[in-house]
């Protein structure tokens, strides 16, 4: 744990006391977002101390020219960067001639709160300026869920030790830069800065990608809640526009500005109408007013929480942790637009670039599938379908043909944007996760229609990839997959990573199964797809040859599948026997030393056992868990959740709970000393899985929802809800019993510890 300044609270993230060294971490932790845009918790007023300014618009990126040391054929020329967008939150505050700047004044009673229940961010504090003016400040800010191009700020100042001359200068600023930039290029092109009355607009588009945006604002001033009609001075520079409102504020009275702002974007509107749309959004916002907008915000979040909340009794920090994870996931992605996805840092930072990793398929889809309408998960599948042509192009660049697809490791628009050969070209298991998600969606939702409509084309292209990527080895008398990197990125360019080989075999078999079913049951779709993909039967026979003769590395001695060829040649010293001073190895060791060690960054063979749990007996799981976990350093945020689920399944609740702790408060407690860079959004879905699939034991078995509820001894009780095929079931687990409550009108049959149980609506079943 690298920090503990966040106060435990069931529903809020709270910081008390102002410490400049926490500013960047808090900017990450208190980030707000509404799925369409999001921003770090930067101050509205100027701050001259260390800060990382970030405001992000979903789907807006820049193809920054790649930076590499030594170029390799096949590398993409460009890397899609998450892009800092023009600043609309800024309000310069001047008090008795001095600019308010928390880095330069004395601050007391500082309190910042991110209210997750209601979806807003606030600050309150008293400041003594260098000119000795004492003031009290209260701010509140949110990004509207209802009007997702709009945000609102309320900023109040009360002079404490005498009347004060106060000016608010709300501004828009498009003269912004990126923290994460390869060559310090400019990313935005400003095309107009304009105003009508007290509304201001900056039109700007991204270079190269030409995403058009209009950043806008309008403000209202109040004295003690009474609206003022202040004159203002309008100021304009090449990249900035501001309006200056001034007032002599008597001691003890409160001068308030309400600022409305945000972005209209050409993802939603014609680019020629962005100002008009901004005008109309501002018109609405001012009409509705800050307080009513805030009420709507509370209502919208209440609806999200009603479905997505997990309660934990008897452990406030655990409760805060899981809600923080659920809150951030919902701030990042709401499933309203199939062009968007779940960036690894969401709207809280820029690192890693791209918006889409295999995290989406492997970790996020289960969360969205169970806590939202199933259309949301389907949108995430469609996202990849839209990128199929680019995935085929990508595979062609690497020498594949005949419609084989390799989906990118990192992407924003379907194009690969990662440039490390051992990842970009070799971490090909990502293709398998994309196919698995199609299966998983069908398994959970029962909605097969996605496969004939879209999914099958993806499955065929992926099967083609695996068929071409595997080669026949005479010496092994089977198909091998050489030169890969598995989920455990602490091994590069290995031969026959078991997880990859297993997934490849499964992908081919699942594709064939799907082809047969679509052929039998969806004639028109089948014809369309055959026509489009030019699939023909001998090709499928060739796939089968690969799947049926896939080679798997196995140790007879240990009776385990080997992570890859040669794994047993390593010096097998467990993590427990490794000096503490050597860890984390990714900070302490050179890359070659990591590579030749047996240490595992995140579940690899065990990721396969997680995906395909029902292919293996519990004894096999136990044997593999006991073989691999001792070498696992869990230096990926995606590692502990899978291990927590498997430990729970193996009835090792202590271990399961320890893994749970590592995932749930990763950012709040800043385990990796990097929270200032932004949050680990995608792994937050893993935290949810740890509770629902791990402790709750939720699975789908033959179309039936199944549970095997367990509870850590540290907790009194916990509860969660799942939307299973449009029926909503609440599960409440305490130390003594489990209660099931069903919403709606029809009954539901579920399995509890493999016993079939009938549940009726509004009738709690205790077990």
């Amino acid at each position: 744990m690298n920090q503990d300044y966040i106060k435990p609270d069931n529903w809020s993230i709270i910081e008390e006391g102002f410490d400049t060294k926490n500013v960047k971490a808090s900017e990450s932790l208190f980030s707000i977002g509404n799925g369409a845009m999001g921003q770090r918790a930067n101050f509205e007023e100027h701050y001259s101390g260390p800060t990382f300014q970030g405001s992000y618009i979903a789907g807006v990126y820049y193809p920054d020219k790649t930076r590499v040391g030594w170029w390799k054929n096949g590398y993409p020329q460009y890397f899609a960067k998450v892009l800092n967008a023009p600043n609309w939150i800024g309000i310069n505050v001047n008090i008795n001639g001095e600019a308010l700047d928390l880095f330069k004044c004395t601050v007391k009673n500082y309190r910042r709160e991110l209210n997750m229940q209601e979806g807003w961010l606030s600050r309150s504090f008293e400041a003594t300026l260098q000119n000795n003016t004492e003031i009290k400040i209260e701010t509140k800010r949110f990004l509207s869920l209802d009007i997702d191009e709009l945000g609102a700020i309320k900023y109040s100042i009360t002079p404490i030790n005498g009347a004060a001359k106060i000016s608010f200068e709300p501004y828009l600023d498009a003269g912004i830069t990126n923290e994460d930039s390869n060559w310090d290029d400019a990313f935005w092109n400003i095309t107009s800065i304009s105003r009508d009355q007290d509304r201001a607009y900056i039109e700007a588009h991204t270079m190269k990608t030409n995403f058009h945006t209009c950043t806008f604002m309008q403000s209202r001033c109040y004295l003690n809640d009474k609206q003022l009609n202040l004159p203002f001075e309008a100021l304009k520079t090449e990249s900035k526009i501001s309006f200056k409102y001034f007032m002599n504020v008597p001691k003890g009275q409160t001068f308030t500005i309400q600022k409305f702002g945000g972005y209209t974007v050409d993802r939603n509107h014609d680019k020629s109408e962005l100002i008009l749309e901004a005008q109309s959004t501002l018109h609405n916002a001012v009409e509705i007013g800050f307080n009513s907008l805030l009420e709507c915000q509370k209502q919208a979040w209440a609806e999200i929480w009603d479905m997505a909340d997990i309660t934990i009794k008897g452990d406030v920090k655990a409760q805060q942790g899981i809600r923080f994870n659920i809150f951030q996931l919902n701030q990042t992605y709401l499933g309203t637009d199939a062009r968007l996805n779940i960036g690894p840092k969401g709207f809280t930072g820029e690192k890693y670039g791209g918006s889409t990793y295999w995290d989406t398929e492997a970790y996020c889809i289960p969360f969205y599938m169970a806590t939202k309408n199933q259309k949301v998960a389907r949108k995430l599948l469609e996202y990849r379908y839209q990128h199929l042509d680019k995935a085929i192009e990508n595979a062609e660049k690497l020498g594949f043909s005949n419609g084989a697809a390799l989906f990118p490791m990192v992407t924003m628009n379907g194009e690969e944007c990662h440039n490390e050969w051992e990842i970009t070209f070799e971490e090909i298991h990502r293709n398998g996760a994309i196919a698995f998600a199609i299966f998983n969606y069908y398994r959970f939702t029962g909605d097969y229609s996605y496969i004939p409509e879209k999914g099958l084309e993806v499955l065929i292209a992926i099967a083609r990839f695996w068929h071409q990527r595997a080669t026949f080895s005479e010496s092994q008398n089977g198909y091998v997959i050489l030169g890969v990197t598995g989920p455990n990125e602490y091994e590069n360019n290995v031969n026959n990573n078991w997880y990859t080989n297993y997934l490849a075999q499964w992908c081919i078999n699942f594709a064939i199964e799907a082809i047969d079913k679509v052929k039998a049951e969806y004639n028109a779709d089948y014809d369309r797809i055959i026509n489009k993909t030019k699939l023909f039967n001998p090709e499928i026979e060739n796939w089968k040859a690969v799947a049926n003769n896939m080679y798997f590395p196995y140790s007879e001695k240990h009776r385990v599948y080997l992570q890859q060829d040669g794994f047993l040649d390593k010096e097998l010293i467990t993590v427990a026997d490794l000096e503490k001073a050597q860890r984390p190895i990714n900070q302490k060791w050179s890359w070659d030393r990591i590579l030749r060690s047996p240490y595992i960054k995140q579940a690899d063979v065990l990721q396969g056992f997680y995906f395909f749990e029902d292919h293996f007996g519990s004894d096999e799981l136990e044997r593999h868990f006991d073989f691999y976990e001792p070498y696992t350093v869990h230096e990926s945020s995606l590692s502990p959740c899978v291990h927590s689920i498997q430990a729970a399944k193996l009835d090792r609740m202590d271990q399961a709970y320890q893994f749970y702790l590592r995932t749930s408060r990763l950012d709040l407690d800043d385990y990796n000393n990097e929270v200032h860079e932004g949050l680990h959004i995608t792994s937050m879905a893993g935290t949810w899985m740890s509770i629902v699939e791990g402790f709750g034991g939720m699975r789908v078995k033959n179309n039936t929802l199944s549970f095997d509820p367990k509870i850590p001894e540290q907790w009194d009780a916990y509860s969660f809800k799942v939307n299973f095929r449009n029926q909503i079931l609440k599960v409440l687990v305490s130390q003594n019993e489990t209660n099931f409550e069903l919403e709606g009108k029809s009954d539901l049959q579920i399995l509890v510890k493999d016993k079939l149980i009938q549940i009726s609506p509004n009738n709690t079943v205790k077990i």
Copy 2:
């Protein structure tokens, strides 16, 4: 072959006719150097067409901040760049008010010659300017071997179609940039620009590395060989100084400038005396005069050629090729300074950076050992000894301890400057080549003294490295070396590269042998070394355990050592069966595809058979050659020479000759379409080896020089000389017989086809 504009000639490189598209290639091919400095064949007068300006000073480099995509622990922060130095050759020429610029005028009868026999570069041509003035120009330039901080230029103009107003403006220019630069930083800091009379000086030092230099010049003007005492105008800017000499030249008369210039450097002098030294150098140069300096130059090159020349009769292109290689090697490195080494591009370009690769030990040392005094080879060994402490530091950074050394992959000053983990951290066989060179030096020269004096410390540090780098594998019941890149860089991060394992075993055994011998025969040295290295006996026992139980991948079926574990799992399609359109694979294929293919960039297992030929029978060599060569794409300039030698040994003269052709005219015929970037200096030594060790079959067997002469059917005869333990033997091989001639006073016993033969001085032995 990508070009054929170079005229075949026994002794010169000749270009006839001016073609702007050849300018950059010719700048490389006509480069001149004297071991202490060198320069591309840039024109003296301004040229506005595409050009790559380069003038380089031995040992002067800049630690450019590294550029990588994703940082890995252990990467060096800086990368030593070969550095373009201030320009001293420049002469602005103005004729009747128009600047002479070959890109803008009509050029005829253009001829450029690099006379390798005498060591000078010349141009002659007639030009018609845009103002219709016709002139004839002749230039000659050389870098003095005798005074190695000095160069001289003679530049003559004869007006053809009328009198002409001609000005020469010789200048020094320190406002230069590098072609190869990571972040476009400035590399030079100019501290003074000054003159005394007609001498000019620019003092500048490199940033960070603080190499101090004084660039200097002085000129003399002549009309028809009669010295003039022209007044001149001195001009100075922030980074440049020039003197302008003007004359009205009658039609048909010749106006000539002789310019002397160069660099005094703090490698040779105290940095406070660089101007004084420059003054004295110029004083000498002007005193001696251009013509006499040129006579000395011819003499100095004659001495080099007397020892190093290889003649080939009946094949002008082959003759030109081998002399070009020998000439460039001698221009690059003369063995006068143990702080210098043989950069991969010498003084002809900037690519790759650093000056020292394992090429030096594996390829260059044999050439210098046989064609120069043995002190030169010893200097190259000492170079690594000087870097031993840094090699130990480098190993420590990667987690090694107890004085283990890992010499850098690429270096200028002993620090690693390469940043690809698969090379920097894993291409560790370089350590073995450094140990092998110590053995090779002793084997050839019979001078054991280097080992007790310096070499043993290096051998101990290298043995320690291998001992720590190998790990015991229970499953193989032997020591394995995991995660390496062999000489074949088309495999990365493989386990048990046979060459690396074999070299590691040999290094340990050779170190132990040397320890025993030094202990027995060099007491004082032994005590000093034990004291310094803290070597103790149990440590040596541990080394022995590794060497004696080293694991080697082997195929019983093919009866060959495997390049690495799993090599046979590849799709073993030979290069002959690979479509031509797919080659060169390093341009056509993505990196992963290269890696999982069986294709070999350069000798790997066969490099081991080259180093340790006498450890294996001819049948074994044949089996391994026949197994590996068919998968070898020879996409490294270092590949064909080893294969040529081995083909010759296997009596496959056709194949040997084909390989020879690929190495000897690599740059002259621009096989890889990259000669504009500079020449492949280090592989030129491989060309020499192909003739002497390949066709000549030269070896040292039990302290006796041995030959097995063969000759390609395309040649009438060839000859070479070797300096074997200070006796000079000339070998002349024709289709019918081989002649041996010995210089000096004592007899020499040699082996010819394993038969002992006695040779007396001045008495040709025919066989």
